[in-house]
Amino acid sequence: DQQVKQNSPSLSVQEGRISILNCDYTNSMFDYFLWYKKYPAEGPTFLISISSIKDKNEDGRFTVFLNKSAKHLSLHIVPSQPGDSAVYFCAASQGSYGQNFVFGPGTRLSVLP
Protein backbone atom coordinates (compact mmCIF):
# COMPACT_ATOMS: atom_id res chain seq x y z
CA ASP A 1 0.00 0.00 0.00
CA GLN A 2 1.79 3.09 -1.27
CA GLN A 3 1.53 6.02 1.10
CA VAL A 4 3.13 8.36 -1.43
CA LYS A 5 2.04 8.11 -5.04
CA GLN A 6 3.34 9.64 -8.21
CA ASN A 7 0.87 8.46 -10.76
CA SER A 8 2.74 9.65 -13.83
CA PRO A 9 5.78 7.47 -14.44
CA SER A 10 7.00 9.82 -17.13
CA LEU A 11 6.45 13.31 -18.49
CA SER A 12 7.77 15.08 -21.59
CA VAL A 13 7.86 18.86 -21.85
CA GLN A 14 9.23 21.28 -24.41
CA GLU A 15 12.17 23.43 -23.35
CA GLY A 16 11.00 26.78 -21.99
CA ARG A 17 7.57 25.51 -21.02
CA ILE A 18 6.30 24.65 -17.55
CA SER A 19 6.80 21.18 -16.07
CA ILE A 20 4.28 20.09 -13.45
CA LEU A 21 5.02 16.98 -11.43
CA ASN A 22 2.33 15.68 -9.13
CA CYS A 23 2.39 13.73 -5.90
CA ASP A 24 -0.43 12.40 -3.72
CA TYR A 25 -0.22 10.99 -0.21
CA THR A 26 -2.59 9.05 1.97
CA ASN A 27 -1.25 9.55 5.49
CA SER A 28 -2.78 12.69 7.00
CA MET A 29 -0.04 12.69 9.65
CA PHE A 30 2.57 13.66 7.07
CA ASP A 31 3.53 17.28 7.61
CA TYR A 32 6.82 17.70 5.78
CA PHE A 33 7.42 17.11 2.10
CA LEU A 34 10.46 17.12 -0.13
CA TRP A 35 11.34 16.74 -3.78
CA TYR A 36 14.52 15.03 -4.91
CA LYS A 37 16.03 14.87 -8.37
CA LYS A 38 17.99 11.88 -9.58
CA TYR A 39 20.27 11.59 -12.59
CA PRO A 40 21.28 8.16 -13.89
CA ALA A 41 24.07 6.49 -11.91
CA GLU A 42 23.91 9.16 -9.22
CA GLY A 43 22.16 9.34 -5.87
CA PRO A 44 19.11 11.58 -5.45
CA THR A 45 19.80 15.22 -4.66
CA PHE A 46 17.58 17.45 -2.58
CA LEU A 47 15.64 20.01 -4.58
CA ILE A 48 13.04 21.77 -2.45
CA SER A 49 10.89 21.15 0.60
CA ILE A 50 7.68 22.42 2.15
CA SER A 51 6.21 22.25 5.61
CA SER A 52 2.49 21.78 6.14
CA ILE A 53 2.22 25.25 7.66
CA LYS A 54 2.77 26.62 4.17
CA ASP A 55 0.99 26.08 0.89
CA LYS A 56 3.76 27.31 -1.38
CA ASN A 57 7.54 27.43 -1.39
CA GLU A 58 9.60 28.90 -4.16
CA ASP A 59 13.27 28.58 -5.03
CA GLY A 60 14.32 30.05 -8.35
CA ARG A 61 12.68 28.13 -11.16
CA PHE A 62 11.22 25.58 -8.75
CA THR A 63 7.98 26.03 -6.82
CA VAL A 64 6.24 23.45 -4.69
CA PHE A 65 2.53 23.77 -3.92
CA LEU A 66 0.81 21.89 -1.11
CA ASN A 67 -2.92 21.25 -0.87
CA LYS A 68 -3.41 19.62 2.52
CA SER A 69 -7.12 19.03 2.16
CA ALA A 70 -6.54 17.13 -1.08
CA LYS A 71 -3.35 15.50 0.24
CA HIS A 72 -1.66 16.63 -2.94
CA LEU A 73 1.51 18.45 -3.78
CA SER A 74 3.04 19.50 -7.03
CA LEU A 75 6.39 20.70 -8.27
CA HIS A 76 6.44 23.37 -10.94
CA ILE A 77 9.56 24.04 -12.99
CA VAL A 78 9.46 27.23 -15.01
CA PRO A 79 11.03 27.54 -17.51
CA SER A 80 12.03 23.93 -18.08
CA GLN A 81 15.55 23.30 -19.31
CA PRO A 82 17.10 20.19 -20.89
CA GLY A 83 19.30 19.82 -17.79
CA ASP A 84 16.14 19.29 -15.75
CA SER A 85 15.68 15.91 -17.43
CA ALA A 86 15.87 13.45 -14.53
CA VAL A 87 13.72 11.30 -12.27
CA TYR A 88 11.92 13.32 -9.62
CA PHE A 89 10.96 11.73 -6.31
CA CYS A 90 8.43 13.11 -3.90
CA ALA A 91 8.97 12.24 -0.22
CA ALA A 92 6.88 12.78 2.89
CA SER A 93 7.40 12.48 6.62
CA GLN A 94 5.93 13.16 10.02
CA GLY A 95 8.17 15.89 11.34
CA SER A 96 11.10 17.32 9.50
CA TYR A 97 13.86 15.23 11.02
CA GLY A 98 13.68 12.69 8.27
CA GLN A 99 13.83 9.24 9.75
CA ASN A 100 10.33 8.46 8.58
CA PHE A 101 10.67 9.63 5.01
CA VAL A 102 8.47 7.75 2.58
CA PHE A 103 9.36 8.11 -1.07
CA GLY A 104 7.13 7.92 -4.09
CA PRO A 105 8.05 5.80 -7.12
CA GLY A 106 9.32 8.77 -9.10
CA THR A 107 8.43 10.54 -12.34
CA ARG A 108 10.88 10.64 -15.22
CA LEU A 109 10.91 14.12 -16.74
CA SER A 110 12.24 14.63 -20.23
CA VAL A 111 12.72 18.21 -21.37
CA LEU A 112 12.95 18.32 -25.14
CA PRO A 113 15.09 20.98 -26.82
Partner: protein, 111 residues
Amino acid sequence: GAGVSQSPSNKVTEKGKDVELRCDPISGHTALYWYRQSLGQGLEFLIYFQGNSAPDKSGLPSDRFSAERTGGSVSTLTIQRTQQEDSAVYLCASSRWNEQFFGPGTRLTVL
Protein backbone atom coordinates in the same frame (compact mmCIF):
# COMPACT_ATOMS: atom_id res chain seq x y z
CA GLY B 1 35.06 15.33 -1.86
CA ALA B 2 32.91 15.67 1.25
CA GLY B 3 29.89 13.77 0.00
CA VAL B 4 28.49 10.37 0.91
CA SER B 5 30.50 7.57 -0.65
CA GLN B 6 29.53 3.97 -1.19
CA SER B 7 31.50 0.92 -2.19
CA PRO B 8 31.56 -1.06 -4.29
CA SER B 9 29.79 0.82 -7.04
CA ASN B 10 28.84 -2.45 -8.69
CA LYS B 11 28.64 -5.95 -7.29
CA VAL B 12 27.77 -9.11 -9.18
CA THR B 13 27.34 -12.21 -7.07
CA GLU B 14 25.94 -15.69 -7.31
CA LYS B 15 22.73 -16.70 -5.64
CA GLY B 16 23.39 -17.95 -2.13
CA LYS B 17 26.53 -15.92 -1.53
CA ASP B 18 26.82 -13.22 1.13
CA VAL B 19 27.55 -9.60 0.21
CA GLU B 20 28.63 -6.60 2.21
CA LEU B 21 27.94 -3.05 1.10
CA ARG B 22 29.70 -0.07 2.65
CA CYS B 23 28.62 3.51 3.24
CA ASP B 24 30.80 6.41 4.35
CA PRO B 25 28.54 9.27 5.42
CA ILE B 26 29.36 12.95 5.48
CA SER B 27 31.50 13.74 8.49
CA GLY B 28 29.43 14.98 11.40
CA HIS B 29 26.15 13.61 10.12
CA THR B 30 24.54 11.69 12.95
CA ALA B 31 21.74 10.07 10.96
CA LEU B 32 22.32 7.42 8.31
CA TYR B 33 19.78 5.68 6.12
CA TRP B 34 19.77 2.71 3.78
CA TYR B 35 17.33 2.45 0.89
CA ARG B 36 17.05 0.24 -2.11
CA GLN B 37 15.62 0.90 -5.52
CA SER B 38 14.54 -2.06 -7.58
CA LEU B 39 14.08 -1.71 -11.32
CA GLY B 40 11.16 0.58 -12.06
CA GLN B 41 10.38 1.09 -8.38
CA GLY B 42 10.74 3.98 -5.98
CA LEU B 43 13.06 4.20 -3.02
CA GLU B 44 12.32 1.53 -0.44
CA PHE B 45 13.38 2.39 3.11
CA LEU B 46 15.46 -0.32 4.76
CA ILE B 47 16.96 0.96 8.01
CA TYR B 48 17.84 4.15 9.83
CA PHE B 49 20.69 4.81 12.27
CA GLN B 50 20.93 7.59 14.80
CA GLY B 51 24.53 7.43 15.92
CA ASN B 52 25.35 3.75 16.24
CA SER B 53 21.88 2.59 17.17
CA ALA B 54 19.12 1.65 14.76
CA PRO B 55 15.77 2.81 16.15
CA ASP B 56 13.99 1.83 12.97
CA LYS B 57 14.73 -1.48 11.27
CA SER B 58 11.21 -1.85 9.98
CA GLY B 59 12.17 -1.79 6.34
CA LEU B 60 14.55 -4.73 6.34
CA PRO B 61 12.83 -7.24 4.04
CA SER B 62 14.00 -10.40 5.78
CA ASP B 63 16.36 -11.71 8.45
CA ARG B 64 18.95 -12.21 5.71
CA PHE B 65 19.48 -8.45 5.84
CA SER B 66 21.42 -6.80 8.62
CA ALA B 67 23.27 -3.55 9.08
CA GLU B 68 25.62 -2.03 11.55
CA ARG B 69 27.26 1.28 12.13
CA THR B 70 30.42 1.80 14.10
CA GLY B 71 31.94 4.93 15.57
CA GLY B 72 28.93 6.91 14.46
CA SER B 73 30.37 6.87 10.98
CA VAL B 74 30.81 4.01 8.50
CA SER B 75 27.91 1.62 8.00
CA THR B 76 27.79 -1.79 6.38
CA LEU B 77 24.73 -3.50 5.00
CA THR B 78 25.09 -7.26 4.85
CA ILE B 79 22.88 -9.55 2.80
CA GLN B 80 23.27 -13.24 3.53
CA ARG B 81 22.38 -16.02 1.13
CA THR B 82 21.52 -13.57 -1.63
CA GLN B 83 18.51 -14.20 -3.81
CA GLN B 84 17.77 -12.89 -7.30
CA GLU B 85 15.08 -10.60 -5.93
CA ASP B 86 17.78 -8.81 -3.93
CA SER B 87 19.09 -7.33 -7.18
CA ALA B 88 18.68 -3.57 -6.88
CA VAL B 89 20.55 -0.33 -6.36
CA TYR B 90 21.29 0.12 -2.67
CA LEU B 91 21.46 3.76 -1.66
CA CYS B 92 22.85 5.24 1.51
CA ALA B 93 22.06 8.72 2.78
CA SER B 94 23.18 10.77 5.75
CA SER B 95 21.78 13.85 7.39
CA ARG B 96 22.33 16.19 10.28
CA TRP B 97 18.91 17.80 10.18
CA ASN B 98 16.12 17.32 7.71
CA GLU B 99 17.87 17.16 4.35
CA GLN B 100 19.29 13.79 3.35
CA PHE B 101 22.40 13.63 1.22
CA PHE B 102 22.61 10.51 -0.89
CA GLY B 103 25.55 8.51 -2.07
CA PRO B 104 25.81 7.22 -5.65
CA GLY B 105 24.57 3.78 -4.70
CA THR B 106 25.78 0.21 -5.12
CA ARG B 107 24.25 -1.73 -7.98
CA LEU B 108 23.85 -5.33 -6.82
CA THR B 109 23.17 -8.06 -9.35
CA VAL B 110 22.45 -11.55 -8.12
CA LEU B 111 22.81 -14.17 -10.83
